[in-house]
């Protein structure tokens, strides 16, 4: 009986300026294999299917349990976290490509700095006076916690940006994740004191107005964050703030 194989087609690119090309690999199948295990197999024996020596594949990874947000890549045409993408649930040959909405570093590794910069732009934090002892924080209704907690699980993986037609090179749209973080911070009693600044930041270029209500984000989110709800909430706050500000100052 022939040994069961896993066939992978990986899009390779040695550096940002270089042309991309595809390489095919044939690996020994084992139960419960995920894409990370496949990439490690290649690192141990970097030889293509037709016996050509090549280099190990570069990719981002860290926690391997879907909480750090590192290992997002496009697998069989859809963006996924590689650590939870199981070989047995994918049609072979499995194609693996880097995400397309972020600058490529090498092979499957991309640079998602744009998202961290966006978090800075919308002031996604609670401005505390200092880390010295100032007593307890404000009381938070359990209802707020139950709404806020799912939002705070966002791991900045970028899947929602990758699937959004409105996020592209001609458009600086910050994407669903960032808007959802604004909602999170505006919902916290202390964060609410600075809600206007965050909303205002989302009314600038590439802000919330770029959302076209496609709702791909919520389909793609690996953490099932109610992103469309967040966008709607923030949208409402935004126009109310503009209207009330214009009318009443």
């Amino acid at each position: 009986m022939a040994e069961k194989k896993v066939i992978l087609k990986i899009k390779r690119q040695s550096s940002p300026g270089q042309p991309a090309h595809w390489e095919e690999f044939s690996l020994r199948w084992r139960p419960s294999m995920n894409i990370i295990i496949c990439l490690r197999d290649i690192a141990e024996n970097p030889v293509t299917r037709d016996g050509k020596k090549t280099t190990p594949v570069s990719y981002d990874s860290n926690c391997l349990e879907e909480v750090c947000g590192s290992c997002a890549m496009v697998i069989n045409g859809k963006v996924k976290m590689a650590c939870s993408a199981l070989v047995d649930q994918l049609t072979q040959p499995i194609t693996i490509e880097p995400m397309t909405k972020f600058p490529i570093v090498r092979d499957l590794a991309v640079n998602r700095q744009f998202m961290f910069d966006s978090l800075q732009r919308v002031k996604a934090w609670i401005p505390i006076d200092g880390t010295y002892s100032l007593g307890e924080g404000p009381r938070v209704a359990p209802e707020i916690q139950e709404k806020g907690y799912p939002l705070s699980r966002c791991m900045t993986c970028g899947l929602c940006l990758e699937v959004c037609p409105q996020v592209n090179s001609g458009n600086n749209f910050v994407g669903a994740a960032i808007i959802s973080q604004v909602r999170l911070f505006n919902m916290h009693p202390t964060g609410a004191m600075h809600a206007k600044e965050r909303i205002r930041a989302l009314q600038g270029e590439g802000g919330i107005e770029e959302c076209a209500n496609v709702q791909n984000c919520v389909q793609a989110c690996p953490k099932a964050i109610p992103l469309t709800e967040s966008i709607a909430e923030v949208n409402r706050e935004a126009w109310k703030q503009s209207l009330v500000g214009w009318l009443l100052g």
Partner: protein, 594 residues
């Protein structure tokens, strides 16, 4: 006079807290991390964070938290420092609360607390099942705020290579490698704080993240920074053994009636469900009829290890046993265990309601680490500080559940403040150090890279790493037998020899992950030996360190801290007393009142 500068290496909880403290002091701080700091390993902590706030009216006090921590650590931790941490813990919770962490709440809007292992009190604040992630994000946000104000500069995608020491042995900065351009760069600083986490990768697979290699600790060790209590490694009894990593499987699966077994015949390749009851070996139930599957953590861990390594009864010869909940009706399972069963299904593609889960004990936490003093997180090298899992204080011989997050934040805060004070009081700042010191360190690191990139050999770094992991997991985790430890050390030394013949399959100069991994591997091999030799020497059983040939704790001979030094190119073990000035040692057992 130029302003002093501080570097923080590592952007997990400890590193971020240290960064915030430095930024608040007004000194500039550079933060180095291999991954974007928001992706650090702290995100993996699930359970919660301890603080004796006595919010449930149980009469909990920080003194009781101290006692639980010291007792849990089998009296190997220096008590006054642990006391400071326990006293400070309620303030840390308040701080995190003010930072907006979405902690679970009581109906009154106060923080909710749950009970955790090793204590009788509701002392653990938690945010759903991702407390570590929530805390890391809160600190990450504060650092981003300081970054936006120009107080913090981040160097994400950089790996630490070495400290730069001047002729007097004082730290004057670091050398680091840009993981994109693969360039070695020198960063002068007046003080450096290391918060580089656990060392899971030296066990091959563990519950740790990919970046938890211990490479930075080992690099420092070779430069004269001592390493303490390396032999103390916490193992979680039931993790899901993936080929890439071990993922935690909560003990509640056993709590709800899960049974642990293996096929009696090790060559039995039938699917688990078709193996009849009579051919299943429910070893916990047979060996421990009184507690059965609910034996304490360490007992379960050792029993599973014995089945796999001594009895050679692991499933299909693998390091795994069955944890079976498939006999429980799925309605009950969904009600009580849904979340954790989903994790198994997600990563294994198998429904545990229908088929038994495969589990195995997994290396989980590094109690030992960089030696620091018991006052302000300073190492024995002036200008170098350490905080978080990479240092050895706070947890003794075994870590109390939900104490890791608090120790990271507490230690990080102290280290930040201490580094600022040290830098401000430096008589001769780094600005006055001749540049030749930096140049020669850069040259040394460049040459190392060049040698790795050009050498020819037959060894693959991934293969050596895997073999190291297997050696460490088999001999240096749960059950430690001296002749096996001696064997392990000689095997590790053989791997060190083979390492000299590694051949990099990637010799490019752009984002070369193979080169970086090879550099880490050399350090890991050394650290693996520190752990192994520490374990070999310690002829007793204490906390997570268990030797069947020496089953009792031996305070007369071993109530002391292992302090490994790097002398003449080799590891030298020295020992120093433990500060037990607050709580006199007593026997540790969890089956009776303490």
């Amino acid at each position: 006079m130029t302003q002093p500068k501080i570097i923080v290496v590592g952007g997990g909880l400890a590193g971020l807290m240290a960064t915030i403290r430095v930024a608040e002091s007004g000194l500039p701080v550079d933060l180095f991390s291999i991954v974007p700091v928001k992706r650090s390993h702290s995100v993996c902590a699930q359970g919660g964070i301890n603080a004796a706030k006595n919010q449930k009216g149980e009469g909990d006090t920080t003194a009781k938290h101290l006692d639980d921590t010291i007792y849990g650590g089998d009296f190997l931790a220096n008590q006054p420092l642990v006391k400071r941490m326990c006293d400070e813990a309620p303030n840390i919770i308040d701080l995190l609360d003010r930072m907006g962490v979405m902690f679970n709440r009581t109906p009154e809007g106060l923080l909710d607390y749950r009970r955790f292992g090793g204590t009788l009190y509701h002392r653990t604040a938690f945010a759903g099942a991702t407390t570590g992630q929530q805390l890391l994000y809160a600190l990450d946000e504060q650092v981003r705020r300081h970054e936006s104000e120009g107080k913090v500069k981040k160097f994400e995608g950089f790996t630490f290579l070495s400290a730069v020491l001047d002729d007097a042995g004082v730290c004057r900065g670091i050398s680091a490698m840009d993981l994109r351009s693969m360039e070695v760069k020198i960063f002068p600083a007046d003080a450096v704080i290391f918060c580089t986490g656990g060392i899971g990768a030296i066990f091959g697979r563990s519950t740790n993240s990919v970046v938890c290699t211990g490479s930075a600790q080992a690099a420092l060790f070779q430069q004269g920074v001592d390493y303490a209590n390396g032999e103390f490694i916490q193992v979680h009894p039931t993790s899901i053994p993936g080929e890439d990593k071990l993922r935690l499987m909560s003990e509640s699966a056993r709590g709800e009636g899960g049974r642990v077994w293996v096929p009696r015949n090790p060559n039995d390749t039938r699917p688990a469900k078709s193996i009849p009851e009579s051919e299943r070996f429910y070893f916990l139930e047979e060996w421990y009829p009184k507690y059965g599957n609910l034996v304490p953590r360490d007992i379960a861990t050792r029993a599973i290890h014995r089945i796999v390594y001594q009895e050679k009864l692991g499933i299909n010869g693998q390091a795994a046993v069955y944890l079976d909940v498939s006999h429980i009706d799925s309605e009950t399972l969904d009600r009580k265990l849904e979340g954790i069963l989903e994790i198994y299904e997600k990563f294994c593609g198998v429904d545990p309601r229908k088929e038994p889960m495969k589990v195995f004990p997994g290396m989980h936490y590094t109690m030992g680490g960089i030696w620091i003093n018991a006052v302000d997180q300073a190492t024995n090298v002036p200008g170098i500080y350490a905080a978080g899992e990479c240092e050895y204080q706070y947890h003794g011989a075994n870590r109390l559940g939900a104490n890791s997050l608090v120790s990271c934040i507490f230690g990080g805060g102290i280290a930040g403040t201490a580094a600022v004070k040290y830098s401000n009081n430096l008589e001769k700042g780094t600005a006055s150090v001749p540049s030749t010191i930096f140049d020669s360190e850069k040259k040394r690191q460049d040459e190392k890279n060049q040698a790795l990139l050009s050498q020819d050999g037959a060894e693959n770094p991934m293969t050596i790493w895997k073999e190291m992991g297997e050696i460490m997991t088999e001999h240096v985790t749960v059950t430690r037998i001296n002749k096996n430890l001696e064997l392990a050390d000689s095997q590790l030394r053989a791997l060190q020899t083979r390492y000299r013949k590694i051949n990099l399959s990637d010799r490019t100069r752009w984002s070369n992950q193979t080169l970086n991994f090879a550099r880490e591997l050399e350090n890991m091999l050394l650290l693996a030996r520190v752990v192994t030799l520490g374990a070999l020497a310690r002829n007793e059983s204490r906390g997570a360190h268990y030797k069947p040939d020496f089953p009792e704790r031996d305070d007369a001979n071993w109530l002391k801290t292992t302090r490994a030094k790097f002398k003449n190119g080799d590891i030298q073990l020295t020992y120093e007393p433990v500060d037990i000035s607050l709580i006199p040692p007593r026997v540790r057992k969890y089956d009776a009142a303490k």
